[in-house]
Symmetry: D3
Subunit: 290 residues, 6 copies
């Protein structure tokens, strides 16, 4: 279970409020690269963890940390919205910048939230929990977590570049540092478990003898003329030993290994057009007549 402290994880200060930057910050709250996502992802991984117990503990600590990050960003959005235009008349009367702010801000920041953060991204699309990855396979989950933190840090760096508000830059410098660590942390679990050599392919518990090993380490090219693009030859993924040490990379210009599929005509209850059934009869006739 959980506890709170009414103070913030790290100071949040806005020197020059900007409703447009408020809209951008929403991506770090409700975007797929954002904090609601990692928070729920780590929680669901922890709550579904079937061992080893250590990783449940690890996940719980960080999931809990992330709630505080959402809180920081929500505070930052609310502060950026102070002074936002709330009347078209005011906007028109003032300079173009106010009018542009009115057009460029998320209208729901005023209309729906009364000048506060919402669990949506910077296009106003609500976060949906299909983005919470928790597969029960620790290597897959750690890769998903590292991905989330990589896209998260990229987003935070772009936000850092976009703003010239010193308070916001300070807050982001903290969040960027935490994203650095979280990338390190999740990938270190894979390292702790033996690295890619032991952990790949995910899941490593499925016997590779059951997969069609002929194609397990072959890079398929799909060029229409059967050629292999020159710059792909001699790559780490087309030659030499595989990362898991269990195979040799090769190149396979792709071609059909199967046949044209044949589906039986549907039952009459599915009500295709009559002509689709007639077509069938014609085919049957043809088959008989030869």
């Amino acid at each position: 279970m959980y506890y709170c402290d009414s103070r913030l994880q790290y100071p949040v200060r806005v020197d020059k409020p900007s409703p447009i930057f408020a809209k951008m910050l929403q991506q770090a709250i409700g975007g797929i690269e954002g904090e609601i996502r990692v928070c729920l992802q780590y929680f669901f991984q922890a709550w579904g963890s079937r061992g080893p117990k250590k990783y449940r503990d690890m996940l719980l600590q960080t999931a809990t940390e992330e709630i505080g990050h959402i809180e920081m960003l929500a505070t930052a959005v609310a502060l950026n919205l102070e002074g936002a235009p709330v009347s078209m008349q005011d906007a028109a009367a003032k300079d173009g910048a106010v009018y542009a702010a009115l057009g460029g801000m998320d209208p729901r920041h005023f209309l729906s939230a009364g000048l506060a953060a919402m669990p949506v991204n910077s296009d106003g699309v609500p976060f949906d929990c299909s983005h919470v990855y928790a597969s029960g396979n620790i290597a897959g989950d750690m890769l998903a977590n590292a991905t989330a933190e990589a896209t998260g840090r990229t987003l935070a760096c772009r936000l850092y570049e976009m703003t010239d508000d010193l308070g916001m830059k300070d807050m982001l410098s903290f969040l960027i540092a935490r994203d650095t660590m979280h990338q390190q942390q999740w990938l270190a679990v894979i390292e702790e478990l033996g690295g890619f050599r032991e952990q790949l392919p995910v899941p490593n518990s499925f016997p590779q003898s059951k997969e069609l090993q002929e194609y397990s380490y072959a890079y398929f090219t799909s060029q229409v003329d059967g050629s292999v693009p020159a710059d792909l030859q001699g790559s780490r993924f087309t030659e030499g030993s595989s990362l898991d040490g269990k195979g040799q990379y090769s190149i396979f210009p792709n071609r059909p290994l199967g046949q044209e599929p044949k589906l039986a005509p549907g039952p009459k209850e599915a009500h295709a057009q009559t002509e689709q059934e007639i077509g069938l009869i014609a085919k049957v006739k043809q088959a008989i007549v030869g």
Copy 2:
């Protein structure tokens, strides 16, 4: 641009059609671990690639390969639906297995598709493209791709265990092999670029001097009593050199570094309740009177 061959990438055969297994296979088509997702993800990464050109080429080949995987799975679903119950009367008249099939299949396989695959997951939720990760940062994108293939292979292995149809097991053994390679392939790009040592933190183009480095390699614990769970001590992510070789892991029992946030009262146009404004006035009075 693109071309087709009417033959399948690999043979698809169903020995014992099962509408319930058809429903399960949908996860590999329209699920977040599925083939529509990787197909579109690799395409959008390729189409947005701003260099090096080599990686656009690499992505295009594999994106194109993935269309053929969706096609295989769609064919497998259609074949599994042949003979599915299309009348409650029939179902009731037959044995319980038919009735259970009627209750357990996706009703839209009959009602909406006339016994064919749909771009939805095994719960019938349509795939939505928010799951397409293409950030323009190659390390982040390669991690996202490896994640997609890790969850994809885990899904394929679970489907393999669920079925006892030899045709389906054969098809899955091919797809599992391709997922093995694709994991190898995307992670090999990171390796080719110098491995985690060079590529972390993502993005590696943001100067770490601008992040709050004091917290860049610290594992934050959130235990209510300030303790550090014993099993987390001495972990790869709490001690020793970081994966990128740029820091030393440490442990930081978390505490508030910031203050309680103070938001200004909203403008009257936002129409909070009058009492919220009165509350404010009271507070101001109190501050004056002491």
Copy 3:
């Protein structure tokens, strides 16, 4: 504005309630082929109609009719849910059919709605209004409406086949008849306006001289070997005069008319990996050195 009568458009009777059929009926309420969709689609087309006034009138009548169809189906769902299992204990104690009903029904019919209809499809996915087509172009909108009624009637026919309840068959025979008329009705508008000869291509107000007419009536084939599938030759869409009488159908084996795209490297603020920029430098060097 609008009025109601508390009686139903047409009698709704359920002889043998079935929670599984209740789930299936949901597709006709909240599915993309369902009645909420056509109701809102016709309303939004009417409300946005910028002339001729006649079509606003026509649309309003039918939109209003459709509310009554949703009502009929919602009533049918509620009646089918009477007697549904509401306790696992009861289900287990009774025969397998009850248990199968429990597994096969939409659990939210009990949990969320207390045994009533919901605005969701038969997989429980809520209807979302992105499916409301109202483009302001009457020919496009009439085609969209005819499509909606074609998929709607196909759905209703499949539901008719699925049930053996005489009450339900009677209700569906009415709804199927209305779908017949609505198909006739929307397509008759196109006929009234001169048929496909006048109305195609949609929009017919864009001067065809501005489109690349060389490709306006050519069927593009995409076969990898440049061949044209034999069964496509001599088709209505590959030879002879086009439907709008403005061109001749032909076949064009597709090939790239454009070049390989070249995107400029992104700005540093977008934070690709450093190696992506280095790659660029390398290319520049190469270009200089030759």
Copy 4:
């Protein structure tokens, strides 16, 4: 910021695991009546609170409590999934109950989560954050919270009836008690602020002199024949003093107060069909000729 304790808020025990009940419990996690929703709703209300400070404090305490409820339910789902069928062969070999379980369980519990909870509802639809109400108006928000707890308690009671597992009933008896309190709590805030007499209409800060007061306390009937249904006469909402004491309820048989709307024809750039413009010309002609 936030802290965790690895113990649960209240004991979670499952005596007879049931994958079908696991699916039902999902509604209490990721359904609109569920715990993720209230947790995020209370957090966003707190984080956006612009005073009085007291209510931020109140909301934070309860939001934090709710995380522990999600955790309890996620644990309950995971325990109910132990022993779930993971192979169709096993299911077929065993009795019908196992087969029914296979058809009735959420397939993604196995395929996507490896037998753990997911942030989805009992139909497998992911929670999306559009359901988080935080308007900045405390009376509106308290009503929204009371609604959430009312639907939440109704759901919990239905789950209680559905199961015969004593462990689950015990857990639910705790959650039901908490929903009781939370209803009391949010409505008590309205009471504390003067009750409906002071707080209605929401927002009470908009001067009623600016609304069209003629229609502010009139119940509009929409009967096609202009009648007023007999059972509605003499109701609390059709006669006597209004709840806010500021008006008298009355009945108004509805009729159009406005005219037929007239929209100007669209600009040519919007590309309606030519005939739509011709229609316009005809109308203009008619207006001229009379």
Copy 5:
């Protein structure tokens, strides 16, 4: 069933068309606080009503009224879009206000709708029917309806403040008045049924003896240090008799009542990593060795 009149419920007039205000008005159509939502919510509550019959009648009248409100708003949007920029060239040639309008309007108002309303919110997100609350419990539903009208009136008041168009203010003054009544109306039903004293907790048909009454009227605090925030003491919800008169409010500083959860390891078919199973073996060994 239903009928229409081609005239509007109330006059809609726009003096100074504004595509940015058109975008804002969309929130009142397709937003969660908007009219599509209440219209469908009241209809589904009516159509699923299992008594008393009076409330079906009441709901039908108001649901029907709401269609006319959507119509008014859709008309207002269409009128506000007249004269909107439909060419970037025009926009650039004119003053900055036109250019700002182009950037600030919803591009789909032109691109998708040809200058008409759409069933989306002011961020362009389509309305989805998960927001339709109809639980079959009348007290819960009335609270949901009052909530919808409270957020709806707050939205309408904010729109009123945002615009300086007299026609729009007139239209909004009517809608605001109707929202006043609808709040009164739904809460009056609760009053009619005995008020909160009789109706709480919702559902009042679940015997409170079955809930864990020890926690039914206790406000849980979650402060990390176990303290109770001073401003929460002595509140209506922490002391005195509960609203339903069935308990006494108290304060309970929260603490874990349960234990650390223990989930069994997953079956091999779920394919966690091998190391997760090894972890298990280790634990088993440990248990044996002691």
Copy 6:
């Protein structure tokens, strides 16, 4: 299976990059009128085709062509984003046009994609696959395809009008031409199968004797006063022979053919309020007493 060529289907050139036009182009990628939709729709129709084989072939060719259209548009978006503002400081320092661009562009183009296309519409809403129509009925599917191309061409024409970039106009003139052909192509299939006379009503395989033919060709009016709007009389859809030649159009002023619905009270496990059950008791009493 499938192949690629790294060259584009048709040249893509942008003379004057515009991030606002980039946002608009997104509608043609991820909008419901866009290319992802038609691409997947034609693929799923092909993959589920149960005959005649000819139509599978036809669909595959065009589905494959459409991938190349998405690619062209994605390239156009990326080129339009070159030079987009990536810092608020730059924007403020420059003229108003840059600031308007910052407010008017999709912020995720920079924040999430690093200046590249995304599979979303021009409001930033991700494409979701519920828009993929593939019913297994060829006439219904061809209508759906013609609809998609009609809305697609309307969108492309509007984009053509919006831009004054010659490169973009050239690209659009190609896409518009292809949309012309695709409309011709899908409708020609209906023609090939006998035209509307043979193909209507869809599905034509359901015996019309089973529908309630009394209402199969009647236009229902819903006017509150029972009148028929004058401009609807004498229309193609109210008089004369129906399009399928199987009936005569007529007008039916709508009226209730059914009764007021009566739903049984819910079971106690559904937990309506006690008063709802009391209502029931009252009704039972009344029935007894008479």
